[in-house]
Structures are given as structure tokens and as C-alpha cells.
């Protein structure tokens, strides 16, 4: 099943390149969603079902909505025609090259980069990680979950009060 890994890794990378190369910020944001979907598939291949689902629900869903809101406030036309100066191009090259060096060094010098992942121990091994996290959330940590519910309630009230012109 390695070909699945290559398909989704390629999807994530193509999405990432699309984010950088697109001149229109909205197209960049949508390329980012493609990249997120590829990442989510990779997480699921690692048996991290919750992380994969959160990647789609929270990042591709909620965070992208916020991103698009910021983009909405931008002047898209002027962003498209923007030129980059010598200094910013040089800075980008230095940062990207340094990042590449660090990753190459880590992969070359550390054994952990080549080891196979050991399976999880304990409750998570018998069930999936989602089930284990559900057990913790709704038994041991049931009270913090209620607090989060209240927080979401307060946030809903705040949104409605702030953006409704006249309240009923």
C-alpha cells in the first residue's frame, strides 16, 4: 500500500506548491485545502484517525473559513500585481535553504528517522485512538468538556450580539 502514501504525499506537496505559486490569494487558500486533505490522508495511514479527521474538520473547515475572511478584507487586485524586491527574494532563499539543510541533517544523522514506528501500547492498541480519546474525554475529563460547551455557547452569543444590526 505504499503507492497510497506516494499519491497523498504528492497531493500534499502539489497543494503546497500551489499555495506559493498562485497570485490570487483565494486560489492559494483553496490549494491549501488540497494540501490539508493530503496531510489528513497521511495521518489516517499512520492509524491516527482523530488527527486525520481533525485536520479536515478544523483546518480544512474552520481555519480555512477564517483565512478566507482575512482574504476578503484584502485588496485582491493589488496583491496579484505585487512585485517582490531583491531583499525579500534573498531572504526567502536563505530561509528555505536553511530549512532544507536542517531537514537533510536530521534525516541523515539520526537513527530515529529510519526506524519503523512501534505500535501503541495499552487501551489504544485494542481499540482505535479515537475510541481511547473518547473514553478519556467523556469519563475522566467530562467536566472540562462541559466547560468547553459553555465556552462555545458564550462565543455564539458574542457572535450574534456583535454582528446582528438590531437584536430582537
Amino acid at each position: 500500500m505504499t503507492f497510497l502514501f506516494y499519491i497523498f504525499a504528492a497531493l500534499a506537496i502539489v497543494g503546497g506548491i500551489g499555495v506559493v505559486l498562485n497570485r490570487n490569494p483565494v486560489s492559494s487558500a483553496f490549494a491549501m485545502i488540497v494540501s490539508f486533505l493530503g496531510l489528513a490522508a497521511l495521518y489516517i495511514q499512520l492509524d491516527a484517525y482523530l488527527v486525520g479527521t481533525l485536520q479536515i474538520l478544523v483546518y480544512a473547515g474552520a481555519i480555512m473559513v477564517l483565512f478566507l475572511f482575512i482574504i476578503m478584507l484584502l485588496d485582491i487586485k493589488s496583491e496579484e500585481g505585487r512585485q517582490f524586491g531583491v531583499f525579500s527574494t534573498a531572504g526567502a532563499v536563505v530561509v528555505a535553504g536553511g530549512m532544507l539543510l536542517i531537514v537533510a541533517k536530521v534525516l541523515k544523522n539520526f537513527e530515529a528517522g529510519e526506524k519503523a514506528l512501534t505500535p501503541l501500547k495499552g487501551a489504544a492498541a485494542e481499540t482505535t485512538d479515537v475510541s481511547a480519546i473518547g473514553e478519556l474525554l467523556f469519563t475522566t475529563y467530562w467536566f472540562p468538556v462541559q466547560v468547553i460547551g459553555m465556552l462555545l455557547l458564550v462565543a455564539t452569543v458574542g457572535v450574534v450580539v456583535l454582528s446582528k444590526r438590531e437584536l430582537r
Binding site: 500500500m1 474552520a62 480519546i133 473518547g134 457572535v159 454582528s163 446582528k164 444590526r165
Partner: protein, 125 residues
């Protein structure tokens, strides 16, 4: 484990293939218009447009998006609950799993009722 995901992959391929086929069909079957800068500009009684016609967005979009984000987070919590419910509450008899989720949903239902009663879900002012 990964063999189970072949149907998901097939579904992705079919969905993408349908979207691509639709787009290609519309290019092949549809009439092609000649585009140039003049034709793309806004037509306002033959006058040349002045400045950017950037549309101003209504705050209603913000309201809908924020409500989506909030209830999206609710779904995030319900997902692990739904997966572990049978094992813990039905087979394990731990009632706290049922009642904590019930109370969580009731709190969020109050939020939904508030938004509904305040008219946040109505598009017209």
C-alpha cells in the same frame, strides 16, 4: 488495515473524475467567447469604469461563517464520543458517558436556540 480504505480511494477517484469530466464536457460542448480586457470590464451605460469595483461584503457572511466554526467544533467532540459510546455505555454500563454528552449537546442546543430566536439564521433583515 489499509486494505479497508480501497473503497474510500475509489470514491475519491469517482468524485474527482466526475468533476473533471463535467468541466471538460462544458469546454467541449459550450461556445467559446473571445475574451479581452475591454470585454471583461464592467459595463455601465458605456462609460469607462473608474477605480476598483471591489464589492463590500455584508456582515451576514461573517455571522454564518462564525456559527459554522462554532458548531464544527461541537462535531469534533461528538466524533470520539460516537466511536466510543457502544464500548463504554452500552457494553460497559458507564452512564457518565451518556449524561456528559447529553449535557454537552443541551448546552450547544441552547446556543442554537439563542441564534435561532435572535434571527441570526435569517438572511433578510
Amino acid at each position: 488495515m489499509q486494505q479497508e480504505f480501497i473503497p474510500v480511494l475509489i470514491q475519491i477517484v469517482i468524485a474527482t473524475g466526475f468533476a473533471v469530466a463535467t468541466l471538460i464536457a462544458s469546454v467541449l460542448l459550450g461556445k467559446r467567447a473571445k475574451r479581452n480586457q475591454m470585454k471583461d470590464s464592467a459595463y455601465e451605460c458605456g462609460m469607462l469604469p473608474i477605480g476598483e469595483g471591489q464589492a463590500r461584503f455584508s456582515v451576514k457572511f461573517y455571522l454564518v461563517a462564525m456559527l459554522f466554526v462554532l458548531f464544527d467544533i461541537e462535531v469534533v467532540f461528538l466524533y470520539p464520543w460516537a466511536v466510543s459510546f457502544k464500548r463504554l455505555a452500552v457494553d460497559g454500563g458507564q452512564l457518565v458517558v451518556f449524561f456528559s454528552a447529553l449535557s454537552f449537546i443541551v448546552i450547544l442546543f441552547v446556543a442554537y436556540l439563542y441564534a435561532l430566536r435572535k434571527g441570526a439564521l435569517e438572511w433578510k433583515d
